[in-house]
Assembly symmetry: C2
Amino acid sequence: MLIMKRTEIKLLFAESVEQLIGSDVVVKGWVRTKRGNKNVAFIALNDGSTINNIQVVVDLANFDEGLLRRVTTGACICVEGQLVKSQGAGQSVEIQAKNIVLYGEADPDSYPLQKKGHSMEFLREIGHLRPRTNTFGAVCRIRHHMAYAIHTFFHERGFFYFHTPLITASDCEGAGEMFQVTTLDMKNPPRLEDGSIDYSQDFFGKQTALTVSGQLEGELGATALGKIYTFGPTFRAENSNTPRHLAEFWMIEPEMAFYDIDDLTALEEEFIKYCVTWALDHCQDDLQFLNNMIDKGLLERLKSVVSTDFVRLPYTEGIRILEEAVKNGHKFEFPVYWGVDLASEHERYLVEEHFKKPVIMIDYPKEIKAFYMKQNDDGKTVQGTDVLFPQIGEIIGGSVREENYDKLMNSITERNIPMKDMWWYLDTRRYGTCPHAGFGLGFERLMLFVTGMANIRDVIPFPRTPKTAEF
Amino acid sequence: MLIMKRTEIKLLFAESVEQLIGSDVVVKGWVRTKRGNKNVAFIALNDGSTINNIQVVVDLANFDEGLLRRVTTGACICVEGQLVKSQGAGQSVEIQAKNIVLYGEADPDSYPLQKKGHSMEFLREIGHLRPRTNTFGAVCRIRHHMAYAIHTFFHERGFFYFHTPLITASDCEGAGEMFQVTTLDMKNPPRLEDGSIDYSQDFFGKQTALTVSGQLEGELGATALGKIYTFGPTFRAENSNTPRHLAEFWMIEPEMAFYDIDDLTALEEEFIKYCVTWALDHCQDDLQFLNNMIDKGLLERLKSVVSTDFVRLPYTEGIRILEEAVKNGHKFEFPVYWGVDLASEHERYLVEEHFKKPVIMIDYPKEIKAFYMKQNDDGKTVQGTDVLFPQIGEIIGGSVREENYDKLMNSITERNIPMKDMWWYLDTRRYGTCPHAGFGLGFERLMLFVTGMANIRDVIPFPRTPKTAEF
């Protein structure tokens, strides 16, 4: 029996299964449930290739009772049997077992995934096993598909995947706190005469930290290769225990030479729609499960995003709409005025109540945006863009980059940004500078939107948050 | 003129260029060279989309002399002009310039990429600009293609991309030194009564480091989802200043439930051949350049690998062949005997002299391999595999994993591996354990093979090595 080639269970749920009916197949996987009566047992078997379980029908008269007793939830088995049309509702085929090999038991007294309906909190504590559940299996498969969709989107458009460094001696716009990286003996580090740490003895000969963004290095790539994107881990040592923050997360940061603001917002819209369309096309079963169990509005929201034109909304116009709303009696917790950094309630009002569709806001006051954004001629605004989505708010932040050396230096000086480690970034403006633009997307933000999951800890296999670095 | 859509230069080297001949086009890019006489200037323009430069022909009578003087090597320009068949040899089309916009100058007195023929060492010092050179542009484009080939290979075969954590509180087999990750104040860290560091006050509430491998977490994915792969940064704080070591590099680590040793070696061979074939199919111009300029044997070596069956060689048989060679007078620096960890000279003898093709060595003595490898019934060997390649040696290391809990625990005990942080790994053998296998590939090792570059610092955009973390 072990000589027969294994069939992945997802193939038994494909249309091509018709041609297998009547033949013998071998499947391998983990028992989700076993039920039955004194004559027959029904085993629901899952191998991770799909959310669907194949039903294995076991005629008890033909099998050793002792063996079958050990086939419990979580056990791993190999089954050889005939594939037949299913008698029961809810599945089209099932397997009449001829042989069963038990690879690994799962002691019912200690296996933690015994019964259904565990809380998300409990499942985080057993993060090493939760990919075996329906919900996290679905999330993991969708996560793969979203990553592959992203690589394919950029590849098809002539972008080059560009690996920016994780360990860095520069700080990108001082965004958030950074994790220090060191090989020094913390207990007794080498010190200079004044008592400060002698980082010249550290591994890299200077103080280093984990990157908070690959954008600046990405611009080096774009000003040589034309169009690049990064897709890698990024780190923030913020002590934020919220459902929307991770200390370690994955970011996608494309940078494009010769793109202006219209090219940029067009790419942002095309990109998100491509990812969501990919999910709808390739992850039907998993999305249907999440729609049923996690978020009843999920599929409708995903379909709505791909069929709607996103609004382009200048910040100044957005403020006018919000002020109008206040005048008409709408109550916001935070004040609305030109220059304010919009709160989540403001963004949601614009997206969910006023326009009822995704909004790309542009031309923000320069004071509330980063130093590298291209300055408009009005002297007040910069060509920043935020893509605002229903439910989750900002999903993409981007901008045209200031390519003029003098303007960039003014902005850096105004903000007192330490430039000693950024000579290489300024060289892009010194030598052959060009108009260019880029954006950043937190991969887990996209995952929250596409899966309908509520907590960012539940869309990454092994979340890192304050006081938590298990597995 | 700026209203016209830009054409990427690679399209001017595609077969479809025929239909553009005679029309006006707009190209944007960086000047590689400018030469000419008192009537006409020839500008070689590159936009990073291809290694090929488009020749722009400038009739000096029609252009401002002052403007043209500023169009020097490294400057960024936009050119509108008519695409015509080229008069000169070496290119099929060229552009007769009608308009030129200068985006950014590059002062000839200070721009470091003035003349050709810089040393690799010098180019590492200007790592922020080196993607603008032919060699590093080619390497970056090939790097993208290899990454996309890898994702596509696994996607097409039903693997799921699985993000294992970068920051970890566990050590994987103690492989190499680790970088510590901390937010504690190094100058004055909190201490326990005995003077040791109080890591409970660190960000994660315990001591953490950067991962040296995602394998163990990858096994968690495979024992739930069936087939997964990782592709992410990995870190080693080894003080190795060699052309083959990086402190930060990218690894690919697939793990497959229900794979045995034959499935594993078949996948390893198929995987490498797929990547090399992809390069030959998609990176012709860049490979041809590297073959001409860097390594005259490159293309021949790549073609040879994809057309050859890899040898499967049990370690014991390999030792026999090496002992035979010694007997016949071949001199090795290091001794040959059963149980020895083969040196590079031994591997090269087998690959380059004896078999003259790639070798997958299997069934190694258990003492020289990691604790998690599946033990053979002989009590002496384990189901480890190394894929040995001409020129670069080991390119892949893999194994069937020991799935038996007791055997795994014995191996762990024999090696005194501290298990307190690995309860979650052992749970895979405790609950529903299954036969499974996996391998690891250093992405930069693959890049060395595919590009023919000699130093690993030159196949990653921003290398991290002892005392170096620039950009």
